[in-house]
C-alpha cells in the first residue's frame, strides 16, 4: 500500500470502496502527518484543533461500511475552516472574541457532507473573521507555506490550504468573501474553488460580508472539489439566498475539449501591476490553452480597476453590522471588569478583536454613516451593478475569464502585515468574482524561480461550476502526465 497521506479524497474513496484500506487507517495516517509536523521547528500551524474523536468516528464509519449502511463519503476525512460551524465543536473564526464558543448546530454544508459519512478531522487556521490575505491575522499565529515555511500561505483560508498542500488532509473547506480560498490555494500550490454565490448554503458559515460570502473547497484534485460540491450544493430552506441548483452529476468530472473555446484575459489583470514571474506562468498557461485549441484573447474591462475600492467599502460595511453581535452578552469573550454596559461592550470588543478587524469595523461604520452612505456604500453598490453587467456581457462572448489568482507570488511572513493597502491589493485578481457572484477556480499552474507556487484563475458564467472544473480537470490530467 502506498502512503495514504497525500492522496486525494477521490483516490481514498476508491480504496475504501474496494476495501483496500479502512477509514481508521486513513484518519490515523493524516493525524500522524499532522503530529509529526507539529514536532518540527517551524510547524505549519494549519490546524487549530485536530479532533480527538476523529479515530472513533472512523471506527464507526468502518462499521457502517461493513453493515452496508454507508454514505457515499463514508469515512473520508475533511478539514474545516474555523468559521464553518460543526455541532458540538468549538468555532472561533481565528479570534479571541469567540474563545469558549461551542456551536449548538452544524452548518448546512457540513451537515450534508456528514450525512454522507464524511469525517471532519479538525478546524483550520484563518485570518480573524476571514479578514486578511495572508493568514497572519489569527489569534493562533500565522500558518506557514508548506513550499517554504518562511512564506505566507495566503489567506484567509491559509490553514485549509496548508493542511491540504502538506498532506495533513486530502481536502478542506474554506470560505471566500474576496478570494480567501483561491488566494491561499494559489500560494500553496493546490486547487481552490469558489462556487457561484448561492450554490452552497451560507447557513452556519459565520458571516463576514454576507452579499459575497461563500464556502469553497481546497484540494489537490479537481474531482475532490466536484465530489464535495455534488453533495453539499443546492437550495437550503435556512438560507434564502441559496439557489435551487442541481450539481449532483458533477462528479466524476469529464475532461473538457477546449478546442474553439474563447477565453478572455483582462488587460487590467495581466499587464501592469502583475509580477514578472507571475506573468511568465500566465503566458505559459495561455499557450497551453492555445495548444489545446482554445482561443485566449486580451480584452479590456476598465471596471476591474475599481474592484478593490468597491470591495473595501461593501465588505467592511456588511462586516461592521455582522460583527455587532460579539458584545460579551451571550457567548464568547466577556470582560465584566467595568462598571456599566458601555464598559462591557468597549472592553470586550477592544480585547477580543484584532487590529485588522477593528480597522474594517471602523471603515464599515464610517461608510454607512448618515451623510456618507450615498457617497460610499450606495455608490459602491451602483458600480457593483455595472461591474456585474460588464462581466456578464464579456462572458456572453467568452467562455471563461483567465487571469493570475494573485498579482504577486507568495511573499515572506511579516512583509505586508503593517501595510494594509498593499495587503488589500493582493486581492485585485480575485475580488471581481465575489462582487459579481461568479464561480472561479485557482489552478496550480507553475512555480517561480524560487520554487514558490503560482496559481492561474478561471472564472466562469453564473452556475457554470461544471465548465471551469472540467477545464481544471483537463489541466490536472495533462499536468500529472507531464504533458504541459
Amino acid at each position: 500500500m502506498d502512503q495514504i497521506a497525500g492522496k486525494s479524497l477521490t483516490e481514498l474513496k476508491r480504496l475504501l470502496d474496494r476495501g483496500e484500506v479502512s477509514a481508521l487507517e486513513i484518519i490515523k495516517a493524516f493525524k500522524e502527518q499532522y503530529e509529526s509536523d507539529r514536532k518540527k521547528p517551524a510547524p505549519l500551524n494549519g490546524y487549530i484543533e485536530f479532533f480527538n474523536d476523529a479515530e472513533e468516528l472512523a471506527v464507526k464509519a468502518d462499521e457502517a461500511r461493513k453493515a452496508g449502511t454507508s454514505g457515499i463519503l463514508e469515512g473520508l476525512p475533511i478539514a474545516v475552516k474555523d468559521n464553518i460551524l460543526i455541532s458540538s465543536r468549538k468555532a472561533t473564526c481565528g479570534s479571541a472574541i469567540l474563545q469558549g464558543f461551542t456551536s449548538p448546530y452544524s452548518s448546512t454544508v457540513v451537515e450534508r457532507l456528514m450525512n454522507e459519512g464524511i469525517i471532519p478531522v479538525g478546524r483550520t487556521n484563518m485570518d480573524e473573521f476571514a479578514m486578511g490575505s495572508t493568514c497572519e491575522y489569527s489569534v493562533y499565529g500565522p500558518s506557514k507555506n508548506p513550499a517554504n515555511r518562511e512564506y505566507v500561505t495566503g489567506g484567509s483560508s491559509g490553514g485549509s490550504a496548508a493542511v491540504v498542500a502538506s498532506g495533513q488532509a486530502p481536502c478542506a473547506l474554506g470560505s471566500e468573501t474576496g478570494g480567501s480560498v483561491r488566494l491561499p490555494a494559489s500560494f500553496c500550490g493546490t486547487y481552490g474553488f469558489k462556487p457561484t454565490y448561492g450554490s452552497l448554503s451560507r447557513y452556519g458559515l459565520v458571516a463576514f460580508g454576507s452579499s459575497m460570502d461563500q464556502i469553497g473547497v481546497i484540494s489537490g484534485d479537481p474531482d475532490d472539489i466536484a465530489l464535495v460540491i455534488s453533495v453539499a450544493s443546492g437550495f437550503d430552506s435556512n438560507d434564502l439566498t441559496s439557489e435551487d441548483v442541481d450539481f449532483s452529476a458533477l462528479f466524476p468530472l469529464k475532461r473538457m475539449r477546449l478546442k474553439g473555446k474563447k477565453i478572455a484575459i483582462p488587460e487590467e489583470l495581466s499587464g501592469e501591476g502583475i509580477d514578472k514571474e507571475v506573468g511568465i506562468v500566465l503566458e505559459r498557461f495561455a499557450s497551453w490553452l492555445r495548444s489545446e485549441g482554445a482561443c485566449p484573447e486580451t480584452v479590456s474591462m476598465p471596471l476591474l480597476k475599481t474592484t478593490v475600492a468597491m470591495y473595501y467599502i461593501i465588505a467592511p460595511a456588511e462586516a461592521s453590522s455582522n460583527l455587532a453581535r460579539y458584545d460579551g452578552v451571550r457567548y464568547g469573550l466577556r470582560d465584566i471588569t467595568g462598571n456599566n454596559l458601555e464598559d462591557l461592550y468597549v472592553r470586550t470588543r477592544t480585547e477580543g478583536f484584532g487590529d485588522e478587524v477593528k480597522r474594517r469595523i471602523f471603515l464599515g461604520n464610517y461608510v454607512l454613516s448618515a451623510g456618507y452612505y450615498d457617497a460610499y456604500y450606495k455608490k459602491a453598490m451602483q458600480v457593483r451593478y455595472l461591474l456585474k453587467k460588464e462581466l456578464n456581457r464579456v462572458l456572453k462572448e467568452y467562455e471563461y475569464i483567465l487571469s493570475p489568482t494573485s498579482p504577486v507570488p507568495p511573499f515572506k511572513l511579516g512583509t505586508k502585515i503593517d501595510n494594509p493597502l498593499s495587503m488589500y491589493l493582493t486581492d485585485i485578481c480575485t475580488i471581481f468574482a465575489n462582487l459579481a457572484l461568479l464561480p472561479a477556480v485557482s489552478i496550480p499552474a507553475g512555480t517561480t524561480s524560487k520554487g514558490l507556487p503560482v496559481g492561474m484563475q478561471l472564472t466562469g458564467r453564473m452556475f457554470d461550476e461544471k465548465g471551469i472544473l472540467r477545464a481544471a480537470k483537463t489541466w490536472f490530467l495533462k499536468e500529472s502526465r507531464g504533458e504541459v
Binding site: N83, I84, L85, A91, C93, L98, F101, S103, P104, Y105, S107, R202, Y203, G204, L205, V206, A207, G209, S210, S211, S237, N238, D239, L240, T241, A317, E318, S320, S321, L323, A324, R325, D327, V329, R330, Y331, L341, Y345, N365, L368, S369, A370, Y373, Y377
Partner: protein
C-alpha cells in the same frame, strides 16, 4: 395665548403569526425565559433569517385596511444599534422600501369625522426584554422569548390636534387590527405600543412658533396616553413661557411617561440620537408582492368595523352598543348576520348572540372562530320559541346543550320531550273540550266500551297538535270519564 397642539403617532403592533418573523420558533407572549429561542433569534454566529410569509400577508392586509398603497417590491434593511436585548446588534426592519405607504384612518371627533393620514406601514422584528434585578445586586438578565416577534410599525402624519384625537386614532388602529385578527393589541402586554410625537404651535405677534418636539414613550394604556399628552402640553407651554425655546434651536427630545407620577422625563437628548446606519439586509432578497396577493387580500378586508357599526344600526335597527360589540370582530359580525338572515327580529338575535353565545364562549374560554355551532341553529331556536313550543327560559337550556353537542334545536327539543305539554291545567282543558265535543264517545265509554278511550285520546292529540303528553292526558281523561 393662542396655540395649537400637533401630534403624530408611531404605533407598533405585534402580529399573532404562529411562528416568529424570521425563524420557526413559536410566537407567543410570555413563557419560561429563553425557551422559545433558536440560533436565528438568538443571533448566533452563522445563523440566517428566513422570512415568515404570513407576516407579509398580514402587513398587506393591515395596509389595505388602512387605505395604503402596497409596494410591488419591498425590502428589508438592517437598523444597526447595540443593546443587550438585540442579539444581532441590528434589527431587521424596513427603511426606504416599506411594504405600504400613504394611507389614512378616519376618526370621530367633536367636530365630526376627520382623516388622519398614514405615512407608511412597515415590518420589523421585536427585541427581547431586559430584566433588571431590584435586589441591590445590580444584575440584569435578558429574556429572548419575544425576540423576533413580527411587528408592524404604522407611522402617521402629525395630523392630530388633541390628546383625545390621538387616543381615537390609536383606538381606531387597534379596532381594525383586532377585527382583521392579526393582533390582539393588548397594551399592557405590549402587543400594541404607541410613541407619540407632540409639540405646540404657538401664535404670538402674528407669528407661529413651534416648540421642541417630544417623542413620548412608555404609555401603556389609553388612559396613560391621554394623561401623558395632557401633561406634555402643560409642560411645553410652561417651558415656552419660561425659555422661549423653539424647535429650531433644540430639535427633538425623547421623554418617558411615568404612570405613577403622571409626568414625562427626559430619556435622550438630540445629541445622543443614534445613527442607525441603515443598509439593505443582504441575507434576504427583495420581496415581490404580486397583484394577485393584493387583490386577494383586498377581498379579505371587506367592510371594516366603523362602517359595519353604522350599517348594523341602520339596517337591523340595533342599538349603538350592540352594533359595536358585534362589529368588533369579523367572525362575530358574520355569525350575527348569518343568524339574522331570514329572521324578522334581528335585535332579538343580536341580544341572544351577545349574552348567550358571548357568555358561553367566555365560560368555555373559546373564541367565536372556535365556536362550531352553525348560526342557523340559533335562528331555528328563536323560531321554536316564537311558535310557543318552548319558553325562552327553556330555550337557554336547549342552547346550552346544542352549543356543547352541536345537535339541532329540533332534535334536542324532541329528545328532551320539551315540546310535550305536561302542564295539568292545559291538559285538563284539552280533555274538557274533547269530552264536550264528543258526547257519544263519552257515553260509549261509560257503557263499558273501553275502545272509546282510544278515539278520545286521538282527538286530544289532534287538538294539541300532537304535543299533549299521552300518559298524563290519558290519566286525566280516565279520571274525568270515571268521575262523570
Amino acid at each position: 395665548m393662542k396655540y395649537e397642539v400637533v401630534i403624530g403617532c408611531e404605533v407598533h403592533v405585534q402580529l399573532l403569526t404562529k411562528t416568529k418573523a424570521f425563524c420557526s420558533c413559536e410566537n407567543r407572549f410570555g413563557g419560561i425565559p429563553n425557551t422559545r429561542v433558536c440560533p436565528v433569534c438568538l443571533g448566533l454566529p452563522g445563523a440566517l433569517p428566513v422570512v415568515n410569509q404570513k407576516m407579509i400577508e398580514d402587513a398587506v392586509l393591515a395596509g389595505l385596511a388602512l387605505n395604503c398603497k402596497v409596494a410591488a417590491v419591498t425590502r428589508f434593511d438592517r437598523k444597526n444599534y447595540m443593546y443587550p436585548d438585540l442579539p444581532k446588534g441590528y434589527q431587521i426592519s424596513q427603511y426606504d422600501m416599506p411594504v405600504c405607504t400613504g394611507g389614512k384612518l378616519d376618526i370621530e371627533t367633536e367636530g365630526g369625522k376627520k382623516s388622519i393620514r398614514i405615512i407608511r406601514l412597515h415590518m420589523e422584528e421585536d427585541a427581547g426584554k431586559n430584566l433588571h434585578l431590584e435586589d441591590g445586586s445590580g444584575l440584569s438578565y435578558v429574556d429572548f422569548n419575544r425576540c423576533g416577534t413580527p411587528l408592524l410599525e404604522i407611522v402617521s402624519e402629525p395630523d392630530m390636534r388633541s390628546p383625545l384625537e390621538a387616543v381615537s386614532y390609536v383606538q381606531g388602529i387597534r379596532e381594525i387590527m383586532k377585527y382583521l385578527g392579526i393582533s390582539d393589541c393588548n397594551m399592557e402586554e405590549g402587543s400594541l405600543r404607541c410613541d407619540a410625537n407632540i409639540n405646540l404651535w404657538i401664535y404670538e405677534d402674528d407669528k407661529r412658533y413651534e416648540t421642541p418636539i417630544s417623542e413620548v414613550k412608555n404609555m401603556n394604556s389609553f388612559k396613560a396616553m391621554r394623561n401623558a399628552l395632557k401633561y406634555e402640553i402643560k409642560r411645553q407651554l410652561a417651558e415656552w413661557q419660561e425659555k422661549h425655546l423653539s424647535l429650531m434651536n433644540t430639535g427633538k427630545v425623547t421623554r418617558g411617561y411615568n404612570d405613577k407620577t403622571g409626568e414625562t422625563v427626559v430619556q435622550r437628548e438630540k445629541e445622543e440620537e443614534a445613527d442607525y446606519r441603515y443598509f439593505p439586509e443582504p441575507d434576504l432578497k427583495p420581496i415581490v408582492i404580486t397583484k394577485n396577493l393584493v387583490a386577494e387580500t383586498g377581498r379579505r378586508v371587506g367592510e371594516l368595523p366603523a362602517a359595519k357599526r353604522k350599517r348594523f344600526v341602520s339596517q337591523y335597527g340595533l342599538r349603538k352598543g350592540s352594533a359595536s360589540v358585534l362589529a368588533a370582530s369579523k367572525a362575530l359580525s358574520d355569525y350575527f348576520e348569518a343568524a339574522a338572515k331570514g329572521y324578522g327580529e334581528p335585535v332579538k338575535i343580536a341580544s341572544w348572540i351577545i349574552t348567550e353565545v358571548g357568555g358561553y364562549l367566555n365560560t368555555e374560554g373559546l373564541t367565536i372562530e372556535e365556536f362550531s355551532l352553525p348560526p342557523e341553529n340559533i335562528t331555528r331556536l328563536m323560531e321554536i320559541v316564537d311558535s310557543g313550543i318552548i319558553s325562552s327560559k327553556i330555550a337557554k337550556k336547549v342552547f346550552a346543550r346544542m352549543a356543547g353537542s352541536g345537535e339541532s334545536p329540533d332534535t334536542i327539543v324532541k329528545k328532551l320531550k320539551l315540546n310535550q305539554i305536561t302542564d295539568r291545567d292545559k291538559l285538563e282543558e284539552f280533555v274538557a273540550v274533547v269530552m264536550k265535543e264528543n258526547p257519544q264517545s263519552v257515553a260509549d265509554f261509560r257503557k263499558g266500551k273501553d275502545h272509546a278511550i282510544k278515539f278520545l285520546m286521538g282527538r286530544i292529540m289532534m287538538l294539541s297538535k300532537g304535543r299533549a303528553n299521552p300518559q298524563v292526558s290519558a290519566a286525566i281523561l280516565k279520571e274525568k270519564l270515571n268521575n262523570g
